[in-house]
Symmetry: C2
Subunit: 329 residues, 2 copies
């Protein structure tokens, strides 16, 4: 039986495909390559196309024996979602509806969903637990929450079981050195910082130094992308064992501030990284740190690459060997 990975050519998707291949799984990838890269696929069978293409989905499910889906495909830029909400509802929510309908038609009853900490919005407390209030502060988080809610109804009504994995800032690169982070446009802190070290950017912008945090900059839970990949593979097995639908946070267990990330990158690279302070961005909570206790106890998962210096070192190796990311691929 094969696992379908939607958005499998993206950053977390491609690391998950690598993890599944390592585990001996058969992998089918659906990706429209709008933000993913063909070169990020270390294996698997690629279908190039859009989630909302019903005919393609029907063909994909009929040509492969798929018993589970891992669903990454989505737009994920917070800023863009606040400029163009319709794009996020259409691609993310409608894309998921199309996928769930195709799964229903094909009789596929397991889906692992790449959700986000942005479903919580401004947290009631940290570390955040799965039962905490979900009140997204941006459209991106709202659409991911709608996708979760839609899955819960497809479970109640049609018995499609889901695991939703809510996480935080994916970071780092694959230990093989072959795959890493290449978003266009890039909006993630660690690659932006390392591109600044490489002089591809003149400076790194820090949005707000007046948050209620130890050094005034936002604190986030950076989690190694290979630890995330491991969690997605475990979640598939959790569903294969016949368990009920569930929601898990995935986090590092500790937060790092924007300034700590920049300082650590300076140490790792030994290079100058100029900083410019900008005003706060709308919809950025001060601190986002997850409790992963539930994932640890139920999925037996724990992150193994938790030191910020190690995460940034791996990313730095990738950026040095791939200064243009995946290039044109």
């Amino acid at each position: 039986m094969a696992i379908l990975v939607t958005g499998g050519a993206g950053y977390i998707g491609s690391h998950t495909v690598a993890e599944l291949l390592d585990r001996g799984e058969e992998v089918v990838v659906l990706d429209n390559l709008q933000t993913g890269h063909k070169a990020a696929l270390l294996g698997g069978k690629l279908y190039e196309g859009d989630l909302r293409d019903k005919e393609l989905l029907s063909r994909l499910f009929s040509e492969n024996s798929i018993d589970a889906v891992i669903h990454f495909a989505a737009n994920s830029l917070v800023g863009e979602s606040m400029q163009n909400p319709g794009k996020y509802y259409d691609n993310n929510v409608f894309g998921t509806l199309s996928l769930l309908e195709a799964m229903k038609d094909a009789g596929v009853r397991r889906i692992v969903f790449s959700s986000t900490a942005a479903t919580y919005g401004e947290p009631e407390k940290v570390p955040i637990e799965e039962g905490d209030r979900t009140e997204p502060t941006n459209v991106y988080g709202e659409t991911k929450l709608m996708m979760e809610r839609m899955m819960s109804w497809f479970d109640k009504v049609l018995g499609i079981k889901y695991v939703s994995l809510r996480y935080f800032n994916a970071a780092g690169a694959h230990e093989s050195g072959k795959i890493g982070e290449d978003h266009r446009p890039e909006s993630h802190l660690i690659p932006l910082v390392l591109q600044t070290a490489l002089k591809q950017r003149s400076h790194i912008a820090v949005f707000g130094e007046d948050y209620a945090t130890p050094d005034g900059t936002c604190v986030r839970d950076y989690i190694h992308v290979s630890d995330l990949a491991d969690a997605h593979a475990r979640a598939v097995n959790y569903l294969r064992e016949g368990n009920e639908s569930n929601v898990f946070n995935l986090g590092n267990g500790q937060g790092f501030s924007v300034k700590e990330v920049i300082e650590t990158a300076r140490k790792v690279t030994g290079l100058d990284i100029p900083v410019v302070t900008e005003p706060r961005r709308t919809g950025d909570p001060a601190v986002l740190v997850a409790s992963s206790d539930k994932a640890r106890s139920v999925l037996g998962w724990s992150p193994t690459r938790t030191r910020l210096e190690d995460i940034i070192s791996g990313a730095w190796s990738w950026h040095q060997s791939h200064p243009q990311g995946y290039g044109d691929e």
Copy 2:
């Protein structure tokens, strides 16, 4: 300036069109006539087509000077929504997305939304107030809640102001005798009871006699369709006055049980109405009664046709003069 009424050929839509025409408003109707009836339109300019037809919407907004939209168009069968959730997400949520995108493109910044008490699910308390927990117990209610949330994001991001009207069981017929209730399939209690009186049905099914209510049958808040129409017209004016987005319950102020409705219909018609008791349906709360205090104080609205006997008498006149509803129209 004209008001666009989506779903204007439906039951509540057509009564609202009649109310707007009485008030001297120019009315444009968009309806795909899947559940609406051309004969239910007492005026206005009809565009026959689907909300998700972007080209039609663009043409409609360019051919008319629309300053506000009243949005009824949706599938609204609770039972069907629990059989085929995808249809409800697609028609209701994506229909609304398509409408909001067209409004954005046309610069139309006011929408009055026909929401539902089903957004609350099993109420925490009765009467239900607008700030109470929203936890729908069926997909129909869930999609209406998603539509409300989507509107709140289109307000935050794009400044499209909305009024969401959450109501309960619309009932009765227009005092002109020209329009009334004709759903196919019919799923609403009062028309089903009156069709039974007309011997078009052998009996009326009562789903559950073991609820925690005075007579064991479900209690609902029946509200005259012309009172609802009045509230929609007031909500348009509320937005035209430049007010902020808001949510209002619309209710009769008192609940009536299924048995009370049947007894009153027997009295009004003087006819036999056989009853068969069936098991409870999934997702039916015991009591749904609204507090309309907020709509009364903010919109200056109050229902004027609140006696169950009067509501049923009006409906009975319509059913007697239109035993086949709108026929084939």
